[in-house]
Each structure stands twice: as C-alpha cells, then as structure tokens.
C-alpha cells in the first residue's frame, strides 16, 4: 500500500511535468500574451521592454527550464495581469471555490441519492416517473438559464436570497471563509443549487440504475428472508452495492466543480477560481494557468486516489494493484 501510494505520487509528479509541458507549448501556439495585454497605443520599444520584462524574449525551451528551476524552489511565476505571484493569487480564491463545490456536491448527494433510491425501488409509480422526468429537465437546461431563473425567482421576485456575491466572511488561516456565517450561507445557497442541478440528475440516475441492478440479486432476497427492515436493506445492502459508480462520478464532479464552475461563478459573481482561470486563459496569463493547472492536477490525482481507496473499502473484491 505504501509502495502503491509512493508510486502514485511519482506518477503524479510525471503528470505535472507533462501538463506543464503541454501548457507551455499549447499556449505558445494559441497566441502571444503581449498582443492581448498590451495597451492599444504602445510603441515597439514599450512592447519590447514588456516582452523582456516578462522573459518572453527567450526561446521557449529556455523559458520552460527557467520555470522548472523556479518551480522546484516553490516559485511558480508572477502573473502577467495581476503582477502577483501566481500561487497566492490562486490560493486566495480557493476558499470560495471549495465552499461552492462542497455545497453543490453535498446538495447533489443529499437530494440525488434519496430520490434515486425512491425511483429505483418503485419504478412504475407516478412519483418515480415524476422524479425521472424532473431530473431530465435538471440537466438539459443550460446552467446559465437556470442560474438566471433562480435569481429572477428567489432574488428579484421573492427577494428571499441575495442575487450575487459572497456573504460575510470569517478569516481563518489568512483566508476568508463564508460558511461560518448565516449571511455566507444565504449567498451560497443559490449558486450551489444552480451547480448542483446537473449533479443531482446524475447522482439520481446512477442511484436508480444501481438499485435496479442490485435489487433482484439473491443476497437481497436473503436479507429479506431474514426479516431485515426494508430501510436497512435499501440503505445498506442495496446502496453499498451501487456506490462504486456513484463514488466515481461524485469524485469527478467534485473535482470539476472546484476547477471549472465558470458559468455559475460569473452569473452569481462568485469570486472563485473558475472565473480566474478563464480570465487567465483569455489573457494567456501563462504563470497563472500553469500554477492553476498544477493545483488542479494535484487535486484530481488526490480525488482519484481517494476514490480508488474508497473502491477498496466499498467492495473488498476490488484489487487495484495486481496485473492480469
């Protein structure tokens, strides 16, 4: 296991390297940040000075080597746009992102799994059909549509919840967290709901599919034969057997919410990292993109590691190491 973990870490390092390479060369192909950022009236001399000051006058591979050398010392570069070290710039945004991602994923689980169980247990009942129908609407409506609709209903018409921004924050470890205040929660609710909608549908449908798969198995019949309460049969025997795809997908969704919840973030003016990365991509702000993607890669590697470990906890038959 330890060996396995170490191997995973080494692999992660390799991906990081690969990722930075791809980003370096990919961005180079897309365009030149100077063209994007430079003032419309800049002279050639000013341009040249800027290019030199950003180190963009060097050949690409030297730029890459410089980056690697600095990265090894923990310096991921200075944002072109913000003129700040990229790492703190991103870290600043992460609390908001984490809050949103946790809230959205939490909502998805809390709503999706019970509804999915219901729909799976009584596939032919009217409410099951309602749930399944509703879930389709949940994921086929574009996110921005739903976001705006939520704002129109809950903020503009009813005035219950604030429409944008993050609520009051409390500072912990130098970062502002809003989940500790009531105001923070009020602000969090709508964007989280907006993001959760697709996930609810996904979780719900997966749960249902799993239940339909497991329900006819002999061991469920055996549990029934032992007079186990239906609640337990469903909540434990059935659920635990359907959890593997759910865990996979929830992990994936959680990761991508942290990384790329741009639409929701911009509609609700949520100061998260997703908007930052998109802005940075639009400006080809390489240090930020690279630093951000490095964080995201680590995040995904970690999530997937957790998911893999969860697989083993959920199903003892899963073997992760052995080859065929």
């Amino acid at each position: 296991m330890t060996v396995w973990l170490i191997r995973r870490l080494l692999q992660a390092a390799t991906i990081l390297l690969l990722m930075t390479l791809i980003v370096f060369f990919g961005l180079h192909v897309i365009g030149n940040p100077i063209d994007i950022l430079v003032a419309e009236d800049a002279t050639q001399a000013e341009r040249a000075r800027m290019i030199a000051s950003l180190g963009l006058d060097q050949p690409l591979w030297i730029q890459y080597c410089v980056f690697l050398a600095n990265a090894l010392q923990g310096d991921l570069g200075q944002s072109y746009v913000y003129n700040m070290p990229a790492l703190p710039l991103i870290l600043q945004r992460l609390p908001a992102t984490f809050e949103l991602a946790f809230a959205a994923t939490g909502l998805a689980i809390l709503i999706g799994i019970p509804l999915g169980l219901l729909a799976g247990l009584y596939p032919d009942r009217w409410f099951a059909r309602m749930i399944m129908g509703g879930s389709i609407i949940g994921f086929s409506l574009p996110t921005f549509w739903v976001g705006l609709l939520l704002i129109m209903i809950f903020s503009v018409s009813l005035g219950w919840l604030p429409s944008t921004g993050r609520g009051e924050t409390v500072s912990i470890m130098g970062y502002g967290w809003s989940f500790l205040t009531l105001d923070g929660w009020r602000h969090l609710l709508l964007p989280a709901l907006n993001l959760a909608l697709f996930k609810v549908a996904l979780v719900l449908r997966l749960t249902r599919a799993g239940v339909r798969e497991v329900l006819p198995q002999d061991y469920i019949r055996f549990a029934r034969a032992n007079g186990i309460a239906p609640k337990r049969i469903i909540g434990i025997h059935v659920l635990k057997n359907t959890l593997i795809p759910l865990v996979t997908v929830i992990g994936l969704e959680f990761g991508s919410t942290i990384a790329f919840a741009v639409v929701t973030e911009s509609i609700f003016a949520w100061p998260g990292a997703g908007k930052l990365i998109i802005d940075s991509i639009n400006a080809l702000d390489r240090p930020v993109i690279v630093a951000y993607l490095m964080i995201v890669v680590c995040l995904f590697v970690m999530i997937n590691l957790c998911v893999d470990i969860l697989y083993r906890l959920l199903d003892p038959r899963v073997r992760l190491e052995a080859g065929a």
């Binding site: 296991m1 330890t2 973990l5 006819p216 002999d218 470990i309």
Partner: protein
Amino acid sequence: MSTNPSVATRNAQEAPLLSLDKAVKRFARKPDLVERLVQRAGLAKPFPVVHAVDGVDIELRSGEVVGLVGESGCGKSTLGRMLASIIPPTSGDLRYRGQAFSALTDKQRRRARLDTQMIFQNPYASLNPRARVNEIVGEAAKVHGLCSHAELDDYVSDQLDRAGLDPAYRFRYPHQFSGGQRARIGIARALAVQPRTLVCDEAVAALDVSIQAQIINLFMQLRETLGLTYLFISHDLGVVEHLSDRVVVMYLGRVVEQADVEELFSRPNHPYSQALLAEMPRISTGKKRFSAIRGEIPSPLDPPSGCHFHPRCPYAHERCQREAPALKPIASGHLSACHLNDTA
C-alpha cells in the same frame, strides 16, 4: 477405474499429465495505510494469513480419475483452481506432462490451459449474468474453432443435451434456471471446448440423483472414449467411491492420505479418513441420530502446530502437537501422514 486398471498402471511410468509440486497458496490481505498505522501503534493485530494450500504434491495421470475429498475449507477448490491455472500458486510448480508451465511456449501453454477445464463450485457466480445460455456454452467453441458458425446452434444444443438440459432453454439467462440446471450449464460449457482434463469442483452436488447418475455416466463414457482425466472434488463419498481410481484426502491445506479407491474405502489409515468414512451417510429406513463433532475444529487462519488434525484426533499424543507428520507410503500406492504409523 477398477475395471480398467491397466490405464493407471500403464501411465505410471510416463510423466503425469498435470502435476503440482509443493504447491502453496496463501491468502493475505495487504493492510492499507490506516490499518498499518494502527497496527504499528499496536492497536490491532496484523492480518492473519490463510494457508489455503500448504505444500501439496498432486499429480493427475492421463486417463485417471482422482477423487479429492476433505473438510470444507481445507483448500480443495483452491487446489483445483491452481491446477486449472486460474490462480497462480504462491509457491510451487505447475507442470504439464512433466514440464514446468513457465517453460512452455506461449502456444503450448494456451493449449495446456484450454485442455484443462474447470467446473466451478458456484454455478451461478461463474455464469455471466448478461449472457444467454447459448452464448455461454458456445462462445469458446466458436472462438477456438471447434465448430463453424453455421453449426454452432446444433453444437450448443448437443452440449446442453449431453449435460441433461433441454436445448429449448438455450436462449434463457442464467438467473432463470434452478440451481441444478445452472450446474449443468457449467458442465456443458466446460465440455464444449473438448478438454482433456476436467477439474470438477462439486460438479454434481446440486443435481438430483437421477441427473447426477446421468452426468456421472457421461463423465465415465467420455473417459472411456476420449481418455479424459478428472480431478473430482466432492463431499459425496458415495460418488467418489463409485467413480475414482485414486482418492486424495485433504485436511487443512495438506494431503493426509492418498490411496487407490478400494484400498482407501476398505482400509482408511488416517484418523480423519476414518472419521469421514464413519460419518458417511448410508441410505437407511430408520431415523438416525447425528452426532456433533468431537474436539475443536482447527482454523486455517491459525493452524494448529504439528499435525493439523490433532485437536480432533482421538488418538492424538504429544508428538502430534509438535511435529507435522510426513506423507509416507504404508502400503503399495497408499500414502498416509500420521505418526501412528511410525509407532505401530
């Protein structure tokens, strides 16, 4: 088979068709990180290692039927799976016609593996729940070119028919069958690739006696006509007695006795074999009182020292606790692992 003793003797000189030398199979769960930390801290005991098979030599000679009996959990299935090269032994060599498996060319190894088929103990679990019976039975035959696409349907029907299953059922899914029917699907599947060796793990346990008879007759007939070799794992001593040439008795991962069938059934040497035969149910018309096991049942997780059987053995003495008895010949073709033979 006793009516055909020449088969066994003739092949005695040749290398056995399939053999395992000093096979050991251990199942140990690797602790994960948290568990390891807990163990390091002394809060939990390390995970037990299961010695499912503990240094077993077994050989199947061509055309022979070897019965394998033993306590449940003593490693019979594990041994069978190693022979069918489904799982690799932790240590020890699998040999095919005297050659180590690892020394075979790829093609030979494939051939050898295809030649050795297994009928699984859990018929249902070993059937793909999403395949229809005709796919389950016919797929391998088609892939290995044992019959053409056009003949496939007939071929499958024949196999099912032979295993005593109505071919009309061949478009059904496994869950639509009764336990015995599923077992027969497994038998048909194994036979459909025309193997030379069959590892039958409780192949007939789930069948009613008349179908059991039919299957056993089929096995015998195949042996007669095609010279198949069998490892016949069973708890049904009656069946084993009827069908085997040689019987191997296992107890807790080790072979305790091995002899020709008549010898063993008439003169069991090892106390465990004797207990088995004593408990062998005979058809009677009166009600019978069954008796509980005397002594403590040892566990493969924590096998007793010395002779594994000593906690249950009525003749156990001090040496049995210390020293594991070796499997020694006590008569021609009769091996037994018991200290009593030394003292006697």
